[in-house]
Amino acid sequence: MRRPTKDTEESARRITRRGLILGGSMIGFMGVLAGRMRYMQVDQAEQFRLLAEENRINIRLIPPARGLIFDRTGTPIAANTQNYRIVIVREDAGDLDETFAKLRKLVPLSDADVERAMREIRRRSPFVPVTIADQLAWEDVSEVAVNAPALPGVTPEVGLTRHYPLGEDFAHVVGYVGPVSDYDLSKLENPDPLLQIPKFQIGKVGLEAKREDVLRGSAGTKRIEVNAGGRVMRELSRLEGKKGADLQLTLDHGLQNFVQARLAGESAASIVMDVHTGDILAIASAPSFDPNLFVRGISVSDYRRLTQNDHRPLADKSVQGTYPPGSTFKIVTALAAHEAGVVTAGETIYCSGYKKLGIRRFHCWKRGGHGFIDLHDSLMRSCDVYYYELAERVGIDRISEMARRLGIGIRHDLPMSAIAEGIAPTKEWKQSSYGESWRVGDSLNAAIGQGFVLASPLQLAVMTARVATGEGIHPRLVKSIDAVEQPVQSDGPLGISPTTLSQVRKAMYSVSNSRRGTAYRSRLLPDDMKLAGKTGTSQVRSVVVDNKNVPWDQRDHALFVCFAPYDNPRIAVSVVIEHGGGGSSAAAPVARDIVARALHGDLPPLDVFPSGERDSIAEIWDAMPLRREDGSFGRSDRA
């Protein structure tokens, strides 16, 4: 089929015509594209460049190192240690199952660890490092490092974590840190951005929580370039943060260890305080727990073991626990009555074994009575009737006023958790708390530290220290912050006449050093260790029973407070042993040992004790879980 030339010409013309239209449209559209390009790249370039910068630059926080905590001798109580962990990057790792199988031969990994890691790996982007194991020993990490070629994508990393080298000794006072929880964040009005860092450690309890403000420090920042997936490409600039402040405490780690060890096995608390500065030298609550468990994240079984223990290891009995102070409160009653002038020191009161109030009889612990008795003997022998009489004469409000002056019924300002206020009852207080009016019988009970009166071991120590010096000193726990000495606080003289005070002190001396004193067995022989104390036995139940033959939790609390040395007081000690039985039999020997240890500065020689007591003391000390110099625990080497 031959095509006519005319058709060919016509066709070529038509194609050219249509082709020109097409070509024109194409060039036109390209003009549109060029215009759009110009608009974006020239007119709006600035705006887009800004967006590109925002895309690539991220600001990250650098967590500051937490401030350290030392005891008064400079021994670390809370330190930051290298935390070795192993992380895996999936995109570099190859076969995960194989990698984990190899890893388990090198590092202790539980099935749960592996499962948790696998879950996280699946959830994250392949280049995000996922922690497989945390808090590893250096040996494990070095094993992994040595075997690195066989473990692609697995790398050891190091960060800082809190460590409490002295373990249980300071668990209650220092507390512990833990990762920030949602609950922690919800409590804060304007949370520090640092808290958003995953697993950032903040103080949870105790000093760590109360002085979080100075311990935390402030965050540094680094500007980093990230890619679309969030992977860090390089660091552009860095602004270092400020390390948290170091705290030096007034505590002495050796004494603290001794006190904690001496209380071992009991549910008890004890405080040793410098009477002049208020420095707390030791503040122990037994039983204790290992705060390092909480830093790592405590296991359910460990936690259950702590919460189900009837001796309540988690409670800080030294400041949170309040107890009827028992006969130790007679010091307060005596001072209140003599200061009020309702009785004189030489005046005797007859103790027939009970005091009759209306139809009720208020018994003395000594059924047969003490006969005619004055201030000195009543305190030394702990006569109850004498104080019933005093209470009736002086009234509860003046007793409570004296209690508060001595530090009972007020909250002492220490950086510790849940410090108890205790109760120094008044008429008004009972009316508002119970809606009942105060009865004279209530005063009688309060006079011997029973009834409504409640005091914490800390308050008893403060009371004793104030009696010893006549000064209104306040307890102090933090000695210095970043080497800046914290002030000693005192209200100045208590305003109690020196005569009365010295008469009470003399009586306390007799408690421990007179043959008829309730704590005579727990005396110390050297003149520079003479105790002046007061026993207390506070009833848990209303009926006096034989403490040996009832269940533990129904026995009386045993208390003892003392200061020493008598003629030149340096320290005040309070000991409370829950359900310990009697103050003279259970609490006084403990206080005696603590005083001897504190004044001697180390384990004292046995010849400071009465010869008849030495064997039993040696036996107790040998069984004590004291910390050795090398940091291990065990029986003391004082052979």
Partner: protein, 382 residues
């Protein structure tokens, strides 16, 4: 047969054909490909691997193929057009049946040394077949209804197969490319007006019916259309790519951020940065100057092709040349519109620049056809 009109004596023969190639076009193609090599080197972080080197090898292979195809007389290509078309359709069906699944769509046939995308081949063979059809058809019948419906089938059959893959980008290119060949062949205006009007009417009806009683499609389908038309309404999903792409483009500014200095592509904010979105890297690193230069090169290629078509008296040759040039134009026009946020994101590569074997080889083969048409054009006796 139009070949009989050739003054055979004046058509160069043997190796003399090489002198008669459209060398300007060869240089332009090489220049565009060099832009590609440069960008592939850059997006790989300054490395010939994994993209620039294979791309260069393919370009070299493609150039050889182009020369070989150019040496073969154009009438032979016309004669095999129908077979080529049928073969491509069969390959498309083969992909449908047992192709490898890549990126969620069945598109490849693995030939061992390379992966063949029959849809790429289809764009060219369909144009060839249409050109051959209009070469065969009496020009007086071109606008008759029956002879208009026939090429419609030629276009819609592969379009349907490609849509099933699904590859919307290629489908659009096929319909537009085929339509342009029909337009160039002289099909009456009215047909195009009717089709465009009907299409516009349908779209309007669908969009207008939203929320009324006679709503034509389901709500979720409307939502899909919404994201398709306005991806920025979904900034972390479909809109993420286009937003990042626009940021890259705009932040290039007039003179660019410098070779290998583009933060958007360096830091992986750009998706598919070595394939469909490679233009954004170019625009980011070389700025308006670089982007406009590439656009100019493309424009020159179109101009040279059209000039060759207009001077060619052979109907098949000029229709083929226009069709291929138009397909080439559609490639880069759709791609650039897409990365600049003027058009929805459909998978269309930037021709000769984007990394990809099939597209590169098929395009160079197509330019081989244009060269063949150019070399073997009928010449006046002189």
């Amino acid at each position: 047969m139009s070949y009989l009109e050739y003054r055979v004596q004046t058509v160069p023969t043997g190796l003399r054909k090489i002198l008669h190639l459209n060398w300007a076009l060869v240089l332009l193609l090489t220049a565009v490909a060099c832009f590609g090599f440069l960008m592939l080197y850059s997006v790989a972080g300054g490395s010939m691997h994994p993209w620039a080197e294979p791309q260069m090898k393919r370009f070299a292979l493609g150039m050889v193929g182009m020369f070989v195809i150019a040496m073969v007389p154009i009438y032979i290509w016309r004669n095999v057009a129908a077979v080529a078309y049928a073969g491509s359709v069969l390959l498309l069906i083969a992909v449908e049946l047992f192709g490898s699944t890549g990126m969620g769509a069945q598109r490849w046939i693995d030939l061992g040394f390379m992966r063949l995308q029959p849809s790429e081949l289809m764009k060219i063979t369909m144009v060839m077949f249409l050109a051959a059809y209009y070469d065969w058809l009496d020009i007086r019948k071109v606008s008759r209804i029956f002879w208009v419906i026939l090429p419609l089938f030629i276009i819609l059959l592969p379009t349907f197969l490609v849509l099933k893959q699904p590859d919307l980008g290629t489908a659009i290119l096929l319909v537009a490319g085929g339509g342009i060949v029909m337009f160039a062949a002289g099909v009456h205006w009215a047909y195009f007006a009717v089709v465009i009007a009907a299409g516009a009417g349908l779209v309007t009806a669908v969009l207008k019916s939203r929320g009324t009683d006679w709503q034509l499609i389901k709500d979720y389908q409307y939502r899909r259309i919404d994201t398709f038309l306005d991806p920025e309404s979904d900034p972390l999903g479909a809109g993420y790519h286009i937003t990042q792409s626009k940021i890259a483009l705009g932040s290039g500014g007039f003179s660019g951020r410098g070779f290998m200095q583009g933060t958007q592509s360096r830091l992986n904010f750009l998706p598919e940065k070595h394939t469909d979105f490679i233009f954004t890297t170019l625009a980011e690193e070389f700025g308006f100057i670089g982007a406009a230069s590439l656009l100019t090169l493309y424009a020159l290629i179109i101009v040279f092709c059209l000039a060759s078509a207009f001077t060619n008296k052979d109907r098949f040759a000029s229709l083929l040349t226009i069709g291929i040039a138009a397909t080439f134009f559609l490639f880069f026009a759709v791609n650039m519109s897409m990365v600049m946020g003027l058009a929805p994101v459909v998978g269309v590569p930037l021709p000769l620049v984007s990394y990809g074997g099939s597209a590169m080889l098929v395009l160079l083969a197509a330019f081989g056809l244009i060269q063949s048409a150019h070399v073997h054009r009928p010449r006046d006796r002189s």
